[in-house]
């Protein structure tokens, strides 16, 4: 394991859970601190705290504070999500830096540790708004939208994990720890791709994407992106260029083989067809037979045949589709922990041709972990057996 000699104390809340999970997946020994009796049954808690060892500590008590100090002395990294009101002396980032000079302290906050709004409150929706992501999701003239599944905590955790390792790398060279200041707001900007560059270079404000692709036709035509099919939606776009040409040719060939009505598609030479020059009536005319064809397909049929034909486009997958995807099955992406049937997203990277196993069940307490991790309670009832 890449980080098998790295020990991490993880004292984060939801904003920072992913950071420790990422580092645990890379092999670090992550000890997750929790208050005694906390509810560990929630799916989100379990998803992002699996592969860590759980240690319940009451930091109001001196014995547990001493135990924490012992752990910090031996640790390489401490992950925190400090709030102004509840840091306490044990887990104050500045105090940790002072008391443990070799420790890398990572403080993850909604708006970071500096600036006029460093103490502002925010949850996922405010962070997605503050980082610009909501301005780019939703119908162009409608309400800004967030993804229904929280994303900002992921962006913050991903940046925090990098920050931890940048500082650890420096510590290896210099012997000195550091304080890593993570802003979730700033982290969300990674979700925007290069949209800010339009403002900076051209003074153009990108609009929300909605359910159609706009801005590609000089005649103002909009292209359909999501197509109803038998069991949901397909994501397919008429692209130009080399990749688009092959996809469009293959789609028409597939429709022809199935005896589907082609309409104006039959006469188009995709080598010369240019999506930037189509007007709305032309786009509507070529999309109509495709809509009828896609309506007959299932998402899995589109995925399988589209792959065989090297076409661009994917089904709009639900979690159920994802759970049964043969590609993920072949790569053993979903994993259990030894001794339990509970399934999780596995480690995110395959290292030296092997996906690292999940080592610690989220019910495995640190005190019992001298022997291989074992769950101390039953997996939640439900679809797993």
């Amino acid at each position: 394991m890449l980080l098998s000699d790295v020990t991490i104390i993880d004292a984060t809340d939801r904003l920072g859970w992913l950071a420790g999970r990422v580092l645990a997946d890379l092999g670090a020994d992550v000890i997750k601190l929790e208050a005694p009796g906390i509810d560990r049954s929630r799916p989100e808690w379990r998803a992002f705290n699996v592969n860590k060892r759980i240690l319940e500590l009451d930091l109001q008590g001196s014995a547990d504070r001493t135990r924490l100090e012992d752990l910090l002395r031996a640790a390489d990294i401490c992950l925190l999500t400090p709030a102004p009101s509840d840091c306490g002396p044990c887990l104050d980032p500045s105090a940790l830096r002072r008391d443990y000079p070799r420790l890398v302290v990572v403080a993850i906050r909604p708006f970071g540790g500096i600036g006029p709004r460093k103490d502002w409150k925010a949850t996922d929706i405010e962070l997605m708004a503050a980082g610009g992501a909501m301005a780019l999701a939703g119908e162009p003239d409608g309400m800004p939208m967030r993804v229904s599944e929280p994303q900002s905590y992921g962006w913050a955790g991903a940046h925090a994990a990098i920050g931890a390792l940048v500082a650890l790398s420096r510590r290896d060279a210099t012997g000195r720890g550091d304080l890593v200041d993570v802003s979730a707001q700033a982290s969300v900007i990674s979700a925007l791709s290069h949209a800010p560059a339009f403002v900076d270079l051209l003074g153009i404000e990108p609009t929300r994407a909605g359910a159609f692709m706009t801005g590609r036709s000089i005649k103002g035509a909009r292209y359909r992106v999501f197509w109803p099919c038998r069991d949901g939606y397909i994501n397919f776009i008429f692209y130009g260029g080399v990749a688009g040409r092959r996809t469009n040719e293959q789609l028409v060939a597939w429709m022809r083989e199935c005896g589907a009505e082609l309409g104006p598609l039959a006469a188009i030479d995709w080598k010369t067809w240019d999506p930037t020059k189509a007007d709305q009536s032309e786009v509507d005319a070529i999309e109509a037979p495709v809509a009828k064809f896609f309506a007959r397909l299932t998402k899995r049929e589109f995925l399988t045949e589209g792959h065989r034909r090297e076409m661009l486009g994917y089904p709009v997958a639900t979690v159920a589709d994802i759970a049964s995807d043969p590609q993920l099955e072949a790569r053993e992406f979903f994993q259990t922990v030894a001794g339990s049937a509970e399934r999780f997203c596995g480690s995110f990277a395959v290292i030296d041709r092997t996906r690292p196993s999940l080592r610690h069940h989220p019910d495995a307490l640190f005190a019992a972990a001298a022997s291989p991790a074992r769950p101390c309670s039953k997996a939640p009832a439900g679809g797993e057996s």
């Binding site: 409150k121 390792l165 550091d178 802003s183 290292i351």
Partner: protein, 406 residues
């Protein structure tokens, strides 16, 4: 380079490929002092240089792309024609120099070029190589091409964006690519840290699809536990109510949420109507959810009388989580982001002064920086090949005569 970053000083990175998923990794490392070389060729430059706007003054050109610049600041650019045997030989020599190779070609391409991990690690046993692609290097669909923007659909994110009963919605750009590039940055750093500690190299196989699913981990966990398939729900939240975005007097929007009845009481006071907190329609969360349209109308009437900025300031003063929905222009004027110097202007040889985006974190003792602007194509051939790789003048001239730098 016009600035200095030290935390990763001494780490040498070589990039093959282009677009977002690979180069974004090298950019973040370069922002903290890694020496990062972006390899392309004049015949086949990075696709971001030519295929996507914006271009400076709307005039396309290899060195005028804002899209390329956004993910390639602080790096060096070299041109090597990998269709020529001498180009491959030079690339192999560079692999002996570097600590980390990042590549995002289609699976198998590096091996066909003689630049696969097995071959290069023979030359440099300490080498870390990170290969990132849509589906990963193995599996029945490993060879499937695709764009990161469409991968958002396969990874479940589009399904969960939009209003109930409406179609799924797009996210901007190749959303999943950036999840993969950030997780990949951690994996690459972990590999380099171990390599430096033990002398052992490593091969990291990163599937962008799988990385996207990491952000969906809770939904997947819930499905495995209960069989529940979540649906898009607009801006609603299963716990917080109200929880949404509201239009303001300046045409901007403010996002806000209340996570408890006490939190709602604070909102009610800010709205100037304390009685709302004891109103049977709104006092408890289930009642607020049942009367959400009426509640939204009340909140919208209040926000319609003030700017998004003023609304957020007033709500935060009362302890209510709130923030304006920041536009792309707003990112450059947001007081918090400005205080963090989130966007930093550097002078590009052809594009002039323009802004680059800094990562979402910084180190107190060893801060990073936008070390320099994005490089013009092949701008650093002389420096990299002679000063870093150590080619003699004779060798350099021989490569040039063979057209390797074209």
């Amino acid at each position: 380079m016009s600035a200095v970053a030290q935390a990763l000083a001494g780490i040498k990175v070589l990039e093959f490929g282009g677009y977002a998923a690979g180069p974004h990794i090298g950019k973040v490392l370069a922002n903290f002092g890694a020496r990062t070389i972006h390899m392309e060729s004049k015949e086949r430059p990075d696709g971001f240089r030519i295929q996507y706007p914006p271009f400076k003054d709307n005039r396309p050109g290899y060195n005028r792309s804002g899209c390329f610049a956004f993910f390639n600041d602080s790096k060096y650019s070299v041109t090597v024609d990998l269709k020529k045997a001498a180009g491959i030989a030079l690339a192999r020599r560079m692999a002996q120099w570097c600590d980390l190779i990042i590549e995002n070609m289609r699976p198998g391409v590096m091996e066909r070029l003689g630049l696969g991990f097995a071959a290069l690690s023979q030359l440099n046993p300490r080498l870390v190589m990170l290969s990132t692609c849509n589906m990963g290097q193995t599996g029945p669909r490993a060879d499937q091409p695709g764009f990161g923007s469409q991968l958002s659909a396969l990874a479940g994110v589009c399904e969960l964006t939009g209003v109930p009963g409406g179609p799924p919605m797009l996210l901007y750009g190749p959303y999943i690519d950036y999840i993969a590039s950030l997780l990949g940055t951690s994996a690459a750093l972990a590999g380099v840290i171990r390599s430096r500690r033990t002398g052992k190299g490593t091969l990291i196989d990163l599937s962008q699809y799988e990385c996207g699913l990491v952000f969906m981990g809770a939904a997947m966990r819930e499905f495995f536990a209960s069989g529940r398939v979540p649906e898009r729900c607009g801006n609603d939240d299963p716990v917080a109510v109200p929880h949404g975005a509201y239009e303001c007097s300046d045409g901007a929007w403010v996002a806000l949420s209340c996570w408890s009845d006490a939190g709602f009481a604070a909102l009610a006071r800010t709205l100037g109507d304390e009685k709302l907190a004891s109103d049977a329609r709104f006092a408890a969360a289930p009642a607020r959810r049942a009367n959400s349209e009426a509640l939204a109308a009340i909140i919208s009437a209040w926000t319609a009388e003030r700017t998004a900025e003023a609304a957020a300031v007033a709500l935060q003063a009362a302890g209510v989580a709130a923030y304006p929905v920041v536009t792309m222009a707003g990112l450059f004027s947001d007081p918090q982001l400005r205080a963090r110097r989130q966007f930093r202007v550097r002078r590009h040889p052809e594009m002039g002064d323009h802004a680059y985006c800094y990562p979402g974190f910084d180190l107190a003792e060893a801060p990073g920086d936008i070390v320099g602007p994005a490089p013009c194509v092949g701008a650093d051939n002389d420096f990299v090949f002679r000063d870093l790789i150590g080619l003699t003048q004779t060798e350099y001239d021989a490569y040039r005569k063979q057209g390797v730098f074209d």
